[in-house]
Amino acid sequence: MRASRSGNIWQNVDWITIGMFLALAVFGWINIYGASYTFDQTSIFDFSNRAGKQFVWILGSLALGTILLLIDYKTYDVLTYIAYGAMLLLLLATPFLAHDIKGSMSWISLGPVSLQPAEFAKCIVALAIAKYMGRYDYKVRSWRDLIVPFAIIGVPALIIMVLQKETGSALVFASFLLVFYRQGMSGYVLWVGVAAVALFIISIRFGAVALPLGTGSVGILTCMLLLTVIEIFFICKEHKMRWQALILIGSVILVYGLAMLVNIWVAVPFNWVAMGVVLALVVYSVVISIYWRKYQLLIVAAFSVFCIGYTHACDFVFQKVLQPHQRIRIEVLLGMKEDPSGAGYNVNQARIAIGSGRFFGKGYLNGTQTKLQFVPEQDTDFIFCTVGEEWGFVGSIGVLLVYLLFILRLIMIAERQRNTATCIYAYAVAGIFLFHLTINVGMVLGLLPVIGIPLPFFSYGGSSLWGFTLLLFILLRLDAARMEQLN
């Protein structure tokens, strides 16, 4: 046994991760100064400006991190469920204590500063998931095993989304799917997620585009063809017979050929033809799955039927369920609407800011887009613009690569655990960071709709910084305990 195992937390803690954390936080702080820089700017340490405040938040975060590392690792395990309960109560109470900030009811005022409890919820949910799924007797064998974990993330997510109207913060809980996947949830669930997003986008974007021949819309037909391909793929995968694939593909082509032939005389509703083809394949797969007793095909069949309904419901969801401001963000993103002064304003100004940075950037404090406040929320959600404009391509990919290394390091830490709960917690942390990075930078780069979530360690804000600190340093504490647990 190594001497360090019993000992000193400062020797066991993962300094590489801390180094990357510090690098990101300090670079973020520098950019907050740039983003909130005005012409009569005060010092970067002045508490009256945002950079000065962020400096204090960073110092606070270091203190918090130190305390978290000094606490006995078992404490976290003991306190998890209590904390979870307390967190639910706080989340429920928040809308009543909060004052309205741009339609969001998630901020509680504590004297001069405001706190956003949702930022701390992620950490506690991650611990709860880890504790529940990390038990010795827990295994993901069937869907039933995932009911409780889904509840653990679903309840706070719903409270945050419905009561606090913070869709972005609630969506972060979707990152736990990666944890479930790692612990044995079927990979198809991820594919279903991807398929759902793809079908949604296709049916919204092309739903109103008429087909060049016959009647029906490009969006629905494309979705149906996609489902046809999925059906055939799974039928053939189960049967492992090449000739059957050829027969199925042949018949489908035949049906479409006939439809086009008929179309010469009568306008054919191709949507219905395509839907008929999918339904025929569904019936076929149900029959053979019962006949061959391959019940997995039933799931595929059910999925197809669900998707037919889903495709047609997308439009309803889009028009009726989504808020107008969410709808317009999606429309702008999909290029269905040009709106450079309205919903597209942020995204367009962000694009100009980043693009005008070119290769080496305009230099620190020299970004005109940044300095003149053309990009709203530039020190919080749109902080990556400042990097793009003032540090250029070099600075931007530098930051992205540090984030990538940081996340990969977290996955590495997860994989070196002997304790399942810690491993799960580590994946939860990695997933949350990956989710934030993906959504935030994707939004700034105009690849994803505008969803207001911060860039970890970078965006201005005490709550988010301390929330991420909590998440990270508990992991580092648990990781440092690897050695001690061997005893």
Binding site: L372, I411, R418, A430
Partner: protein, 612 residues
């Protein structure tokens, strides 16, 4: 976690992270390296080029008296955002003496983004412009009551004297044509529209400066870009000294009051124009500022055409003043000598009668003195018929062409090309072609064009050309192109006529006699010998035009003058005294003939002439 069933899934999760970052790096590569449009868009967002207007050059007269300068004017701007809800519109309207309806209308105009493209509630918008000091005085005192209101200063032209409007010209807003022709101008800029202001626009305007400012997302200015590295200072316009003697100019305009006509004075040795008066004119102050376009259209509508610079643009038959040239050409081309005598039968003379009574026969000196028409007809006839008519009228037509070329050398029948006078008419000395067309090649003889002998008929000259002709005779054979810029010596622009000097002495002697014994004898100046020639030009538009050319002092001419008074009658009665007093003014500094001055000044010959 080693040894668990889903160990390999960590590669999938790591892969997702790697794919996301890779996609984003590709996107960054596109935005920052490939897509070139964003640089300009960022500059358009942030940078505002603010023009700094230079002060326009001043204009002085030949003695250094200030004629044209810049006066401050004010514009009122408002920043909507700063105005607030409790803004006292009524009080504000009262300060500016405008009605509520006018206020609302102007605000609506400002807010209309179609008309006002740069509208922003954060930036100052021009509410009213070109206001005088007195217009804003009340508002200035209570400005603190109206947040968002700013009073800004610009400059307009102002004038020391209500004179020389045609010469000085005016400054007005540039039109699309100017902008297309000269990239210096932008919409809303001012430039010289006519007169000296136009001719010397490039000198007077100076050079605009530019200040590159940064504008934030709300349209507020946030200081200079790159610490002013791209800024350019404005360069003030260069002052201009004109050749005009403002006292002489004032006198000329005063004497022409109530009449339609013009007077031009030139310093013979230099070609400098000492006065260039055209009546009716206008007070140059009326074409300044916000009243400009209104007043301009009123001037345009006036039937007496005050906007026309009659001194350079109106053309008249020169009448008897042309006899001076006729004499010179006939002498040089050998038709007559100083001693040639022709008979005169007074009013009974044919084909042209004489309007004066004098002895007969007459020689050149007496003929000029008495303005004897028969003499000049005979001289002209003898010149034209010198070689006979020849085959197909050829010899006569050749002779006519020689005569015409000699006349052209006096600067008649064409514009002065090498001068700074912008508006000129060419006048006309008829060509052989014109007569060929009217009468056929063989259809016209000396008798056909007899009117030319006494400066009538198809000859047309401008007052400026007449004055120049007087200067040429004073110089005995050359003229310097008349011009208005004192700083620009035009001595190299010397035009010589090919006539011997002694002939000029003869003509000058005749002109001297005119002022001593002839038609001009009523207007002597104490101690100064004048020379001149009166003219009374018949014209189809009514009463004869009174014309006079002359110079003084005879022995060393300092000033040459031409005066035309339209439809006034005898040149001796209306044109000669004007010229004589101008010469007196220029040579002695004042007019001692007070009664004469008063008589001419107060005489109203044309009722419709207005004082603008």
């Amino acid at each position: 976690m080693i040894n668990d069933k889903f160990y390999r899934r960590r590669f999938v999760i790591s892969g997702i992270a790697i794919v996301v970052v890779t996609v984003y790096i590709i996107r960054l590569f596109y935005l920052q390296i490939i897509d070139q449009s964003t640089k300009d868009q960022a500059d358009n967002n942030a940078l505002v080029k603010q023009t700094i207007y230079p002060s326009r050059g001043l204009i002085y007269d030949r003695n250094g008296e200030l004629l044209v300068f810049n006066q401050p004017i004010y514009e009122i701007t408002m920043t909507m955002r700063e105005m607030g809800k409790e803004w006292d519109t009524t009080g504000f309207c009262k300060c500016l003496k405008i009605s509520r309806a006018e206020f609302d209308e102007r605000i609506a105009e400002i807010k209309d983004r179609k008309k006002n493209r740069g509208y922003s509630t954060w930036t100052p918008q021009i509410f009213m412009s070109q206001l005088k000091k007195e217009d804003i005085a009340t508002l200035q005192e209570s400005q603190f009551l109206y947040p968002g209101i700013q009073i800004q200063k610009r400059t307009l032209r102002d004038y020391t004297y209500k004179a020389a409007a045609h010469v000085l010209g005016s400054v007005g807003e540039v039109n699309q044509n100017d902008i297309d022709r000269d990239s210096y101008y932008a919409r809303g800029d001012y430039s010289g529209r006519d007169g000296l202001e136009r001719t010397y626009e490039r000198q007077l305007r100076g050079e605009k400066g530019v200040e590159v400012l940064m504008r934030d997302s709300r349209g507020r200015m946030q200081g200079s870009y790159q610490d002013g590295a791209l800024d350019k200072k404005a360069k003030a316009g260069t002052d201009l000294q004109t050749t005009i003697d403002i006292q002489l100019q004032l006198l000329a305009e005063e004497l022409l009051a109530g009449k339609i006509g013009s007077a031009v004075a030139i310093e013979p040795k230099t070609g400098e124009i000492l006065a260039l008066a055209s009546n009716p004119g206008w007070n140059p102050k009326v074409l300044v500022g916000k009243e400009r376009s209104k007043n301009y259209s009123m001037l345009l509508k006036d039937p007496t055409k005050p906007l026309m610079n009659r001194a350079t643009q109106a053309t008249y038959p020169p009448g008897s003043t042309f006899k001076t040239i006729q004499a010179l050409v006939c002498l040089e081309q050998g038709a007559i000598t100083e001693n040639t005598l022709y008979p005169c039968s007074g009013p009974q003379s044919t084909p042209i009668k004489c309007t004066h009574h004098h002895g007969s026969p007459v020689a050149l000196d007496k003929a000029i003195e008495q303005s004897c028409n028969p003499y000049f007809w005979c001289a002209f006839r003898d010149l034209m018929q010198k070689d006979g008519y020849g085959k197909d009228n050829e010899d006569f037509r050749k002779r006519y062409e020689l005569w015409r070329e000699a006349v052209l050398e006096f600067g008649l029948g064409q514009r002065f090309q090498d001068t700074d006078l912008s508006e000129q008419s060419s006048g006309s000395i008829p060509t052989t072609k014109q007569y060929d067309r009217a009468y056929g090649k063989t259809g016209w003889k000396a008798i056909t064009v007899r009117s030319l002998s006494i400066g009538q008929g198809e000859i047309l000259t401008t007052p400026l050309q007449l004055a120049n002709q007087a200067a040429l005779i004073a110089n005995e054979g050359y003229y310097i192109t008349p011009h208005l810029n004192k700083n620009d010596s035009m001595l190299t622009h010397r035009h010589d006529v090919h006539i011997q000097k002694r002939y000029f002495e003869a003509v000058k002697d005749g002109m001297h006699r005119v002022m001593k014994y002839g038609t001009g004898r009523w207007y002597p100046i104490e101690d100064i010998e004048q020379a001149g020639k009166t003219g009374t030009a018949q014209n189809p538009h009514g009463k004869d035009h009174a014309i006079f050319i002359g110079f003084a002092p005879v022995e060393d001419p300092q000033i040459a003058v031409a005066v035309v008074v339209e439809n006034a009658g005898f040149g001796a009665t209306w044109a000669c005294p004007v010229a004589s007093m101008m010469m007196e003014q220029y040579l002695t500094g004042s007019v001692k003939r007070k009664d004469l001055k008063k008589k001419i000044t107060t005489a109203v010959l044309n009722e419709s002439v207005k004082k603008w």
